[in-house]
Amino acid sequence: MSQELPIGTLVKDEQFTLFESVGALEIMDPKMDSGFLAPGETLEDEYDITRPLLPEEIIGIMDQLLCCEMSWHEGYPLAQTLFTSHYIDKLLSTESKNIDDIQFEQGHEQHGGDLVHVVLRAYCIGLIKCCDYALDEINRSLEGGGTRVNFYEEEDFSGHTYGRELFTGISKDSIIAALYEAEEVIENEAAKDPPPDGIAPVYAAIKTRIEFRIELLLAMFTDEQHSYPLDESWMNVSAYLPDQYNTHHLGKAVPESFSPKIQRRLASTVPPKPMVELSYEDAFKKLQQMCLDCREAVRIVDFGLEHVQRLKAFLWSFNSRKPEPLSYPRACLSAPLFGCDDVGFEQLLRRDLEEVLLPNDPILDPVNWTFEAPQSQVANPEPRYEMANAVNRFTQSSIHMAGGYIDLYRSLCSNRCRLRRNLCHVVLALEEHQTRETEPLDEIINHLSNTSPSFPLSTWTYLAKLQTMTWIVQLGFELDIYLPDELAGMYWYLSLLAQSQASVLKLILPTLHQRVIRPQGSTTQVHTTISYLESRLAEMNATKSLADALFSLYTYLRYLNKIPDPASNSPFYNAQQRYELRMKPFLDVTGATVPPFAEYSESITLFGPYSSPTVNIRSITPEYLSNIDTLVKEAKAGFASVKKMGVKAAMCEGVEGWWMKNVNSVLASCVAAGIAVSAVRGRVERSEEEVMGVEVLEPGKRYHDWWVVPKIS
């Protein structure tokens, strides 16, 4: 009947679009149809999984499986990694209610011996269970704590199981028992008399791998109760790594036990894809790093929710880890945090307010929360009830908005590139919160409490907003978003942001000093907050100085024609549009408004056009460079004072190492900036500008990724 259709006519479902049809897999096309078989080709391989294996082959297969496992953690789908193993495929292909049902071969007769049916089987089951735990942890990290944002975790990780269950229902204890049984088999084999030459280390190597798997299961186990601290569990896992690595050469790979054909039987809406082959060397490095990252991530439990700035510092420190942690370790960090419900996050926000602005303040007195709502409209409500009510409205609306307080934590738990983009949403939410909610609530609070800082909620929100904006610009440097010719302008803007933050901090500090002079109750908390704010103020002043120094240095180098500027030759280049693009995250922000383009443009071209400056650059050089020197010195002194005030003042206890390294790197950047300035001076004094080399270092090669100090030669 179809032949009656005129050429080019389609008969189609109205809802079905041609656009959709592009996604259809073409059957019988070998590149798209995973079920296509070439003539004579069979769907199944001829591999016999019940054939006896040499002990060396057991090591080989275990190590190959480990490579697959790590490729999966790295982001490849199971179909291209673990599911390419005939052994794994067989164990997963039957529905099993308990571990005894999971066999390579049904029935009593078992060909291939204990090495296959006890040892390899137990190892494979343990491995699959580890994947189950990893998936569970990652899912929990995405589900918990009032999830309102989009997740992009699928960019980093593939959680698709093709309709198979990864032994979710099989208990950890039964699997560990099976692994112990495997260990026993190995011990008995090794004790056989007389042992063939050179076999002892091979059995020892298998034993190490089994023990490693047991420890890994214990560490990845996702239920609440753990017999001992999790970071210790991860240390135990790490302890088995060197022995495994050193015995890898004893193994004999069995490549035919893996096949890309297995994916043809999996429920799959994608074309067939090749197996992922990760070298043992690389897989092992990733495993090693993963164990270290997990060990750090699980410390989140020790940090708890008591000290908010410390918690944030910990999240920052984890987020800054290089190489970037894989999805699973990040899930180990965020699953416990987002296990917290909305009420938990509201408490967290109240503590945040308390730590930054309202230490031991009547506004946040827990007693306020003990009053009942007034029975009638007429009755004069208890002022303390009203205060608590205003704070509740503030915290609730911040928790519930997209990009709000929970999303700040979501951002800090995402990967480094996402962090910056997510923080852009956080800024907009803070902005909305400040313009819509905080002021009327502040008026209620001001009216009720005359000893507290005025407009506390607005102040906190504004400060948080400025801080987030500063981070966004600084992460821009780290992620190498700005071109070399933009560095001057972006440091100019960073300086403005740091200055705004400093001026807010300067406004808060006197109100707290007042509280010390006229104390109401204990002042310990007030002193802690004062130290914290002073540390932040010093940091912001120093940030401003260093940003100014780099802004001036890059501007100067621009006039010497030393900064590459490939973009401006493009016919599509438009300086104003580029500026607007860079400022896009901040365009809607009030209070810290983005300077107009004219102002920006004037600042970075203060001596007129780069090609024809209005002053003789040479004649202004000595004074100009000595100004930069002064700024660098101020910055260095500032960061040194932050260091001197210490980790406690900065509320970074628990991540001392990270904090110290951070401060020292910034100090090193100051030193490098000083050296760069004198190198420039030397070249210019000797009239050698022509041969002067200016290198803008890429991230990773800088002393601190947030500070792009040019290298002058």
Binding site: Q3, G8, K12, A24, I27, M28, G35, T269
Partner: protein
Amino acid sequence: MADPPPSPLSTYLSRTIRVHTTDSRIFVGQMKCTDRECNIVLGLAQEYRPPPDSVLQTKAVEQGIGSGSGSGSGIAKLNVQFSSRYVGLVVVPGKYIRKIEVEEYIGGGGGGGGV
């Protein structure tokens, strides 16, 4: 340009159809689209595959049904398990189609409508 009169084929749109391909697989899914060459787009398709010939032969001998070649209606008589899997949206080119069957709805809500 005036719309051509609707083809009688359009009554099968959105209905569940079974497409047999030349390699003895069967695809069952919702008919989304077809054309002059009888290329068929199936939505939410499931792939069914008969066991390999060797298995079929043994089964045929066991059940005493001739010397089954493993093709055509022979398979239907054999009591064998087809393996199935979900493949989603697929297009089956007309040249590989051996047979098309329409699944009848119980209660006979024929054609049209759809999702």
